[in-house]
């Protein structure tokens, strides 16, 4: 859904839509009250449909190519480990960042009751951090694909290794352009 108040320009455009809708409702209502009601219903439905279907700016544009600052011969690996993972396999000599997504149910995510899930993720992150000296270990978003996106913004990995189930692997593979494989 497009946020009509995303920017000043869009808010101004939304104001124009509101003016047109109000004029239509007023004209119809002055002719007949029920016609005004009908136009109001159609206008509100139309605006809602427009906001739902109007493309969000920038979504269709291809993502800018990432330029790796890694020295030649150095690999940068992003590992995604589900909470509860006791060990992960990483390439020798690689610069490694491990992200543990704070996996939570849809209800927990919507209500913000994710403290326990985040606690699980922090515990796993602490354990993995102890086993991977030199690696950076972080807790990520509740959605694994989003956790990977967040991590890639600050860590230009050459590949992603996933220590999780097939659903997590496919979700991440669908979201990012770099190679994704199982850890």
């Amino acid at each position: 859904m497009r946020n009509p108040l995303r920017s000043e320009g869009e808010a101004f455009r939304f104001l124009g839509v509101a003016i047109v809708a109000a004029l239509l409702i007023i004209v119809a209502a002055l002719a007949n009250v029920w016609a005004g009601v009908a136009v109001a219903v159609v206008a509100f439905a139309g605006v809602a449909w427009w906001l739902m279907h109007d493309p969000v700016p920038g979504v269709a544009e291809p993502a800018p190519p990432l330029v790796s600052g890694t020295p030649p011969g150095q690999r940068r690996v992003l590992v995604v480990a589900a909470p509860g993972t006791s060990s992960v396999t990483v390439p020798d000599g690689a610069e490694v960042v491990v992200v543990v997504p704070a996996l939570s149910s849809r209800v927990e995510a919507l209500t913000g009751a994710v403290d326990d899930r985040r606690g699980d993720a922090e515990q796993t992150a602490a354990e993995l951090g102890a086993k991977l000296p030199g690696a950076r270990v972080e807790v990520g978003a509740d959605d694994p694909a989003l956790a990977v996106e967040d991590a890639l913004r600050v860590f230009g990995a050459d590949e992603v290794l996933v220590a999780g189930d097939d659903g997590m692997l496919e979700a991440i593979r669908d979201r990012v352009a770099i190679p994704v494989s199982r850890a």
């Binding site: 509101a18 990483v90 807790v139 990520g140 978003a141």
Partner: protein
């Protein structure tokens, strides 16, 4: 082929690591965006409560609108509406100007917006003084003053924001690259205008 090493579990001993760092913000929704959504939701509920009272009084209760012998100053309100809508155009002009690096265009736009917003508010105060009815005169005046007054409060807040924006603009705080303060204030001002369209249509015209 790439060499891999398998790291097995081992007891955690003395270690300099003191737990994982703070998590990144999820890219699903930024805190600023979430704040804006929550603000809009709260505004919808606030105005919704007053509009519920309006529709209850007018439709369910069947109270004549305006209740005789009172009259609504529709002409003054229409002129006021035109002033407010024009102020949105000048606000947009200010934003477009600063995005193009036209600092004086932004300053002129903000100043005009502030003056027109002030004119709207002063005109509304005079409208209240000459309305000929007060909140104790029944359901119609109560709802009228509540709805228009609630919007007037929003205009006052918008004017306060605009005042600071204008002062900052004349002190050279904004540029083509950095004009977030103008952008956010503009969004709020347009939102206030959208709400006025709804208030004007329901209270004065229909």
């Amino acid at each position: 082929m790439t060499a891999y090493s398998h790291v097995e579990a081992f007891p955690q001993g003395e270690h300099e690591h003191h737990g994982p760092p703070e998590p990144h913000y999820s890219s699903r929704i930024m805190p600023a965006t979430l704040g804006m959504y929550l603000f809009i939701a709260s505004e919808i509920m606030l105005f919704g409560a007053f509009f519920t009272a309006y529709f209850f009084v007018r439709i369910v209760n069947g109270t004549p609108w305006p209740t005789p012998p009172f009259h609504l100053p529709v002409f003054v309100a229409t002129v006021n509406t035109l002033i407010l809508l024009t102020s949105s155009a000048t606000m947009h002009w200010a934003t477009v100007s600063i995005k193009r690096g036209n600092v004086w265009g932004m300053r002129a736009g903000l100043l005009l917006t502030f003056l027109m917003g002030t004119a709207f508010l002063i005109s509304q105060i005079f409208e209240y003084m000459r309305a000929g009815f007060n909140t104790g005169d029944g359901a119609f005046p109560t709802i009228f003053f509540c709805l228009t007054g609630l919007h007037g409060c929003h205009v006052f807040i918008g004017l306060t924001i605009l005042l600071f924006m204008t002062i900052r603009a004349f002190r050279g705080h904004f540029s083509a690259e950095h004009h977030h303060g103008v952008e956010i204030g503009g969004i709020y001002w347009h939102f206030v205008d959208v709400m006025w369209i709804v208030v004007f249509t329901t209270v004065y015209v229909l």
